[in-house]
Symmetry: C2
Subunit: 290 residues, 2 copies
């Protein structure tokens, strides 16, 4: 069993600390002290404060803390990448403080990167939450789709789905229409179908036109837009071939939207606890490093 340690999921805007004892979460805290909120040279002080609050223990971090805008850069590891490769390539800050590297698709044909999500993905495998051959999906600002083969991430694709939704709602001609919360109902499903068969640029302007012509209710605009974006994302992944059975690492609300979109377009999906996956992944890496 791994000795007690602190695991930190340190992203751009949020941070979550877990004290892990005997492979289980003994304590946790979450705040908005993400990488973007740090002053230069603030990381050392921050970590000292975390150790004071949560325990004077070894620390293993993952996420944007290891990026060029983070504490120090932990170089990306190229796919295929399993949990052993992550453990072998951690960046040591000092004898009891380290950062897990991100992973990359880095070929002539295609570039893609992730940082933090790889711990969830491989943790889900390590904990037996998903099969060792599976298609995983992590919805969010930048939605990740990963192919797992014999327990390793062999390929992945990132789509800016969540960020595009946020931009449209905050800054576009559609902003005035997109005021209601997104609901997993008929407008969302209609958006999924349209987003799957038509280009996004035209599908999205249809929201404006449908509003002007009285064919799209004000309350449905945000749901339709979300459906169109997620539908475009899901349809593209399904068109790439491969397994149509997905495992979604997400909370039930956002995960439920992706599941509905996948099912609407002929695939199947189940939702997996993403926090449990992270804890399993970071614990497995810490064990391998011991």
């Amino acid at each position: 069993m791994t000795a007690p340690f602190l695991a930190i999921d340190w992203g751009t805007t949020n941070r979550r600390v877990y004290r892990i004892e005997n492979g289980a979460v003994a304590a946790t805290e979450r705040d908005d002290r993400g990488v973007a909120a740090m002053q230069s040279r603030g990381f050392e002080q921050e970590l000292a404060a975390i150790r004071e609050r949560c325990g004077d223990l070894p620390v293993l971090m993952a996420g944007m803390v290891g990026s060029t805008i983070g504490w120090r850069e932990a170089a990306y590891v190229a796919v295929p990448a399993g949990i052993e490769v992550l453990a072998a390539n951690c960046l040591s800050i000092d004898a009891r403080t380290a950062i897990v590297p991100g992973i990359a698709v880095d070929t002539e044909q295609r570039s893609d990167v992730m940082r933090g999500e790889e711990v969830q993905l491989l943790g889900a495998v390590a904990a037996g939450l998903v099969p060792r051959d599976a298609m995983l999906c992590q919805p969010g600002t930048h939605c990740k789709w990963a192919a797992i083969t014999r327990g390793e991430v062999t390929s992945f694709t990132t789509a800016m789905t969540g960020e595009m939704f946020a931009m449209l709602r905050a800054h576009s001609v559609l902003a005035r229409q997109m005021t209601a919360p997104v609901a997993a109902g008929p407008a969302f499903v209609d958006g999924v179908r349209q987003g799957a068969k038509r280009d996004l640029g035209a599908t999205l302007f249809g929201i404006r036109a449908g509003g002007v012509l009285g064919r799209l209710a004000e309350d449905d605009a945000a749901s339709f837009a979300s459906g169109a974006l997620i539908g475009s994302d899901v349809a593209a992944r399904l068109a790439e071939g491969g397994d149509r059975d997905f495992h979604i690492l997400a909370d039930p609300e956002l995960g439920g939207l992706y599941r509905l979109a996948i099912e609407t377009l002929g695939g199947s999906a189940r939702i997996v606890d993403s926090h449990a996956a992270f804890v399993a992944g970071i614990t497995a890496i810490q064990e391998l490093r011991a």
Copy 2:
């Protein structure tokens, strides 16, 4: 020959006034007193000032001035719509002041609207700048693609291409990369090809990943993003079938990017003077109303 009149292309952010005598532009002015800059009840005063500056003449207006955020709403006319239908459905403000209606696709299957562009489209036909059966393209914030059949607009599609580019450059994770001006070079063409074959969400995140991994030069990011968005737009229109020979109503710079994208994806295109098209269209409508 039509009696002298003032034609106003009154959009959301810009306004252009033409004094038209003997079918030609005798004087013109352009400013940023668009509809969005008007106070309520400001339109009458604005128009009085325009008549003082440009001539105490009949006035025919087109564009967002006829929308719900404009002076008064000139109801949309459904396609198919020719120049006669526009002339017959102008909204009279008073005996010598009128607004040209917009046009709409308004069916169970699809909603689309335009306001202002229809004058250019049908003006290009009226002036013989394009054939009476043709595919027209008006790039911009909301790019319009119109099928002209026997001189009438029989169908059209709007894509939010320009607006999406502006949002990405101003508000997205890509903003820091998209600082160079867009150039009609290899990075743009590469973006066109990728945007044509892959979903936008993934293609656009590739810019971020390509930057992080050093595979996309900083100076190329904006050009690649523009290419991806325009490529997605063009590919979708080409996939809809029909004529692959396009007439682009635009200035040479933006029109040139669309032409390059169309040619890259196997179509052909020529650029048509959009100001000449507007003047021909508004003059033809005024003539029919006389």
